[in-house]
């Protein structure tokens, strides 16, 4: 008998703002977010998401949604569908979710990006797979039409909560997550990360009901 599972009520994409502001050549210690009244450099950040069939070259999603505040892995690619309306049957996988970060506002440079699952454990039978490290165009994940089959390109096992320092490298660039020109830092404005794609894969031992709410963190430096 199949078990039906709902999951992840409100998986938070926490923006861990570890801002190192290098001003006038001096570097403020890592972990401190200083207020700089004279310059007031503050990047504006939001998560966005691509859904729909791959289109264009380089490929991106047909639909781009902005101001994304959570990730609910579910049995559909449609952004607006509640996860409760598209539960995953135990043993199946979610559709892969193609989130990415967007930076705007005032800054000189965005750099040192890391992405990881940083808090709260998943239950038995649940495996979270995620985007591999991105250091430039050569290893950035290319958009494919979301599907529920196991995505072999998501090589990072994000199931365990780890220290953000162990997170995968994130790269940045202009135009969009799909665009070339990605590197470990950018001065482009607006700027985008590579795709931070995830997929929740389940086995038949997964328990029915909502999963725990977990935290995925994107950390970056700005100056």
């Amino acid at each position: 008998m199949n078990k039906i599972i709902n999951y992840i009520k409100a998986n938070k994409l926490n923006l861990s703002l570890v801002g190192v502001m290098a001003l006038f050549g001096s570097v403020i210690p890592h972990g401190a977010l200083a207020f700089l009244p004279m310059i007031g450099l503050t990047a504006t950040f939001e998560f966005n998401r691509d859904t729909g069939a791959a289109t264009g070259s380089p490929a991106k999603g047909t639909t781009r949604s902005t101001a994304v505040t959570d990730v609910n892995w579910k049995n559909t690619d449609t952004f607006g569908t509640a996860y409760s309306a598209a539960p995953i049957t135990a043993g199946n996988n979610s559709f892969d979710i193609w989130n990415f970060g967007k930076f705007s506002g005032s800054y000189n440079q965005i750099l040192a990006g890391l992405f990881a699952h940083t808090a709260t454990a998943f239950g038995t039978g649940l495996t979270l797979k995620g985007t591999p490290a991105c250091t430039g165009d050569g290893d950035r994940l290319l958009y494919t039409t979301p599907a529920a089959s196991a995505n072999a390109n998501l090589s990072v096992d994000m199931t365990s909560a780890i220290s953000i320092a162990s997170g995968v490298a994130v790269c940045f660039g202009a135009t969009g997550p799909e665009a070339t020109g990605k590197a470990s830092s950018t001065t482009a404005n607006p700027a985008y990360t590579n795709y931070l794609t995830t997929q929740l894969q389940t086995t038949t031992s997964a328990a029915p009901g909502d999963t725990a709410t977990v935290t995925l963190t994107l950390q970056y430096n700005e100056n």
């Binding site: 940083t118 072999a152 096992d157 220290s163």
Partner: protein
């Protein structure tokens, strides 16, 4: 009856290569599950961390994917291991009350 076949696969949870069972589910996807025994003698437990690969993945592609999996996941420092290390350090530094 033959013992179930296993292969050595890097387990992201254990951070070492462990024996993984091999199965193919109803959707045709390949499932590799860690069989490492964890827990205690009183409460034995199996790791059971699993990896899935799409239907039709052949042995050559699977080997390549497993190599990429190890490269991508080796070196993760889990929050749980940090906490365990902290507890151990505190236990060694803080003298027992007499």
């Amino acid at each position: 009856m033959n013992d179930p076949k296993t292969i050595k696969v890097f387990c992201a949870e254990q951070q070492v290569e462990t024996e993984h069972s091999i199965d193919i589910d109803g959707s045709g996807e390949i499932i590799l599950s860690c069989t490492a025994e964890i827990g205690t003698e009183e409460e034995p437990m199996t790791c059971s961390r699993s990896l899935k690969f799409a239907k039709g993945t052949d042995a050559k592609a699977l080997k390549k994917a497993l190599a990429a999996h190890k490269a991508a996941n080796e070196g993760q420092i889990s929050v749980a291991s940090i906490e365990a290390e902290k507890e151990k350090l505190i236990a060694e530094l803080v003298p027992d009350e007499e």
